[in-house]
């Protein structure tokens, strides 16, 4: 088996009914999802939700309790089979970077390139150094590089043997916010340039949005939703997803027709599921940008707190019913805390959860 596996058209990861755990105790329950070739997926969830365990199972460091993992149609993990990590051709980037401190940058990148002529190896190393923007650092040692540079080298090291799939376990969490903002788009570009399928594990939604084509939202070892960043944010399928991704509040409402809701903020129109009978009590998800400040509105609320964001104000407003919602306002509408302001709801689509 060669370390190179270039030229395969379809490189697809399938995960079916997978449970993973320690000592017979499942940490990941009955998880299924697919990742098509060249896509960047993301496992997004709070700490302890099992996302790292799932990633380690894909890498081959954890045995599975039930279900199966297959890559390009070949089963690599099942209840009675575990292909050793070194034979999977799956690259991995770690939270603590884990460069080999006794090797130079070039030797670190070349570490996984075995059984190749030195010319091929040095070409590949040069190509990757160019890609990560660290030409001229070949002979340096990891400790002399900054955190962001080290993480780029770790990425190059993992990509060097052209793995079928690249796994990244919270690769940016050790870096400061500014560096992260620069590095995330860079790395997405590098992965796309190489056409590499990848899975990122993170608890940071902005990182997930900036990096991933598809996101799996995880909680307590289960996948709540698997979709594009747009779907996850605007069409959350569970209360957990709605709360975990983005800011928002739940507004009590009553179904008054197949396209209408009655709420504290008046009648709201939009498409609803046919399954909701008239009179059903529901919670409506409202994002900060759904609630607009409008002095002319008949609906009033008290300003509880406010944040000046330059281009706009973000207000926290208490309604007559006692419910508190976020509200966007143009930055010219400067109201004092305790003042009563008018607000209106503007929704493109309705996200409701029955009570």
């Amino acid at each position: 088996m060669s370390s190179f596996s270039s030229g395969k058209a379809l490189q697809e990861l399938n995960i079916r009914d997978l449970s993973v755990g320690y000592h017979g105790q499942a940490v990941v329950h009955d998880v299924s999802f697919d990742l098509t070739a060249g896509q960047i997926g993301c496992l997004l969830g709070p700490s302890g939700c099992g996302k790292s365990t799932l990633l380690r199972a894909i890498a081959g460091f954890e045995a599975v309790l039930s279900g199966a993992i297959s890559l390009n149609g070949e089963v690599i993990s099942s209840v009675d089979y575990l292909l050793p990590p070194e034979q999977r051709q799956i690259g991995m980037v770690f939270q603590d970077i884990a460069l080999f401190p006794h090797l130079t940058i070039a030797d670190n990148i070349a570490f996984g390139l075995k059984g190749m002529s030195s010319r091929v190896v040095s070409n590949r190393v040069a190509e990757l150094l160019d890609l990560i923007g660290l030409v001229g650092y070949e002979m340096r040692y990891p400790h002399s590089l900054s955190g962001g540079q080290q993480q780029r080298v770790a990425l190059a090291r993992a990509m060097a043997p052209k793995p079928k799939l690249l796994l990244m376990d919270e690769p940016f969490s050790g870096l400061d916010a500014k560096l992260r903002e620069e590095l995330v788009p860079d790395i997405r570009q590098i992965l796309k340039h190489e056409g590499m399928s990848a899975i990122l594990v993170t608890h940071d939604q902005m990182e997930a949005f900036a990096m991933a084509d598809t996101i799996a939202v995880m909680e307590s070892g289960e996948i709540h939703q698997y979709g594009t960043p747009y779907q996850i944010y605007h069409r959350p399928e569970s209360r957990f997803t709605a709360r975990f991704v983005g800011q928002g509040d739940f507004l009590s409402a009553v179904v008054c027709g197949h396209d209408c809701l009655d709420s504290d903020l008046g009648r709201i129109r939009g498409v609803l599921s046919d399954e909701l009978a008239i009179g059903t009590q529901v919670d409506l998800l409202v994002r900060p940008d759904d609630v607009i400040h409008d002095d002319a509105s008949e609906f009033k609320g008290l300003v509880m707190s406010k944040w000046f964001r330059g281009s706009h104000f973000l207000y926290r407003v208490k309604l007559a019913s006692g419910l508190v919602v976020y509200c966007f306002a143009s930055s010219h509408h400067n109201h004092a805390i305790g003042q009563e302001i008018g607000i209106n709801i503007e929704l493109d689509h309705l996200v409701v959860f029955s009570k």
Binding site: E74, Y81, L83, P84, E86, F100, P101, G112, K114, A154
Partner: protein
């Protein structure tokens, strides 16, 4: 290619390591268990006899020795630590490492040297007599071979423990702490007593307990000075009366003393964690001592280096070169014996430490971590206790073996275990496992588990990861562990004295024997060799400290 036979269900590919670790731990704990068991099962007659005769002497002398040395090491160790870590004065940085030099000087060797200098026939009293014209008994001179002399000797070589620990604590106290106290109206001196000292207290106590363990373990000094303590008592009971039961009983009581020290040390180390909080910015040397204060600080810090190392080492060197018998083949054979034994012991101890450390890394279960912890417990035990604990089970085993062979073949065989260097190696493994474990584990701790995984995901089998990642990264720590154990074995006296095979001598034993025959000058070549080799770990220690800061 991907044959379905290659099923890897087990989470632990090296399951045997776990059992190896438990086995090693049991073996290394055996001597301690034997001694403890003897305390409770020994015959009452021996006990009453000990109680009626010598025990009171042993207890009071050991306690007085401990109190004296405690005062001594605190009075030297803490002030020099504070001066070299917080103050700036001429020579401060050189003294920072020079103050560690007495660590290379075993207590029994410094005792021989000062006796040679200060006793009646020595150059100092000789000079006094020549200058004053007084004769024997007509003037007073300090009797070095006394309890007080032992206190001074032990203090001179043991203060570095307190110095090291408290210096680290003072360096970790951020400069801000001192500055805050100044803004709150404290002078430098009152800030030292109200702040720096209380903050460093757990570290000072930890260093003090280490020094006290060495005091309890000392045999060469007190034996030579004729101070009857537990260690000399154990030797006398064992050698003089051939009374193994009595020796074990004494060893058991000594073990109680040691236990108190171990718990004190553990407790203060736990507190150390809480005390070392806040900003970890090392304090800059900022208290400038100029003029006479700087000179006074410099002189004060020079004295321990001078009397604890430079003077005795210089005297030993002089004796070796100008006065001792010229080097003979016997001496070279002796050195070869010592080095070969120490090297063999180091190899075995470090190999066992590697097995234990890897077992803990791959199977971090409670049974393994308990095993590793108990394997290191011998570091606190005096060599005499370990020797008794080793000889009892090995002698039992030998008698079984002799009888067995006699029954089966009719042949008579000698002592296989207790009469050979196997007994010595066993005792060294018990005594020095902790230092070796410490070095190996700190090295292994730097190889993060994610590096193993990175290696695997880049196509390496576990054995290849060991070869290409662990081996190059662990080399340095393993070498350090080998060196430290090597030097410690070379210096070890009481266990070697008890357990060595008939007519098998080492440098330490030879120095002890020559000194006992009052041939102090002839003991110098062996002594200076031990001191010179002892400098190696001091240099290593100093390097790791300066890297740390």
């Amino acid at each position: 290619m991907m044959s379905k036979q290659r099923v890897v269900r087990s989470h632990s590919p090296f399951a045997w390591l776990k059992w190896a670790a438990i086995g090693i731990a049991l073996l290394l704990a055996l001597p301690v268990l034997v001694v403890v068991a003897n305390v409770f099962t020994g015959s009452g007659g021996v006990w009453t006899h000990l109680w009626n005769t010598v025990l009171a002497d042993y207890v009071s002398n050991s306690l007085l020795l401990m109190i004296g040395v405690a005062v001594g090491v605190l009075c030297i160790g803490v002030p020099v630590a504070w001066l070299t870590s917080v103050c700036r004065f001429p020579g401060a940085s050189v003294l920072g490492w020079a103050l560690l030099l007495p660590l290379a000087m075993p207590a029994y060797i410094i005792a021989y040297t000062y006796t040679g200098l200060l006793d009646f026939a020595g150059p100092v009293q000789g000079a006094i007599r020549a200058l004053s014209g007084l004769g024997y008994g007509e003037y007073w001179f300090f009797e070095i071979r006394s309890l007080g002399g032992a206190v001074i000797m032990l203090s001179l070589v043991l203060y570095p423990y307190v110095y090291l620990m408290s210096r680290a604590a003072f360096l970790e106290q951020s400069a801000n702490t001192l500055e805050v106290s100044r803004t709150l109206g404290y002078s430098n001196v009152s800030a030292f007593f109200r702040l720096a000292l209380p903050l460093a207290r757990p570290a000072i106590i930890a260093g003090l307990t280490l020094a006290m363990m060495e005091v309890l373990a000392d045999y060469g000094t007190v034996q030579y000075f004729g101070v009857a303590t537990f260690t000399t008592g154990i030797m006398r009971t064992f050698y003089g009366f051939g009374d193994l039961a009595g020796a074990s009983q004494l060893a058991g009581i000594l073990l109680l003393f040691v236990c108190v020290l171990i718990f004190t040390e553990r407790y203060s180390r736990r507190k150390l964690r809480y005390h070392a909080s806040g900003l970890r910015k090392a304090s800059q040397r900022e208290l400038v001592l100029s003029g006479w204060r700087g000179v006074a600080a410099c002189v004060f810090c020079c004295l321990p280096v001078l009397f604890g190392f430079l003077l005795p080492a210089g005297v030993l060197l002089y004796w070796s070169v100008f006065e001792a018998e010229p080097l003979t083949w016997d001496f070279l054979l002796l050195a070869w014996h010592s080095f070969y034994l120490a090297f063999l012991a180091a190899l075995i101890v470090v190999a066992l430490a590697l097995v234990l450390s890897y077992a803990l890394r791959l199977h971090p279960s409670r049974s393994v971590s308990t095993s590793v912890a108990s394997a290191g417990v011998g570091y606190a035990l005096p060599g005499t206790i370990i020797a008794i604990g080793v000889i009892v089970p090995l002698a039992w085993l030998d008698h079984r073996l002799i009888n067995l062979v006699k029954d089966v073949s009719g042949d008579k065989i000698g002592l296989v275990f207790s009469g050979t260097i196997i007994a010595l190696l066993f005792a060294y493994a018990v005594r020095f496992m902790a230092v070796s474990l410490g070095a190996v584990q700190s090295g292994l701790g730097k190889i993060k588990p994610s590096m193993d995984m990175a290696g695997r995901s880049l196509g390496l089998t576990p054995l290849q990861v060991l070869k290409r990642v662990h081996f190059p990264l662990l080399k340095g720590s393993v070498l350090t562990a080998l060196l430290i154990v090597f030097v410690d074995v070379l210096k070890e006296l009481p266990a070697t004295l008890i357990l060595r095979p008939f007519n098998f001598n080492t440098l330490a034993v030879r120095a002890f024997e020559l000194a006992s025959d009052e041939r102090l000058v002839d003991a110098a070549p062996a002594s200076i060799m031990i001191v010179l080799v002892g400098l190696i770990p001091v240099v290593l220690l100093n390097r790791s400290i300066s890297k740390h800061h």
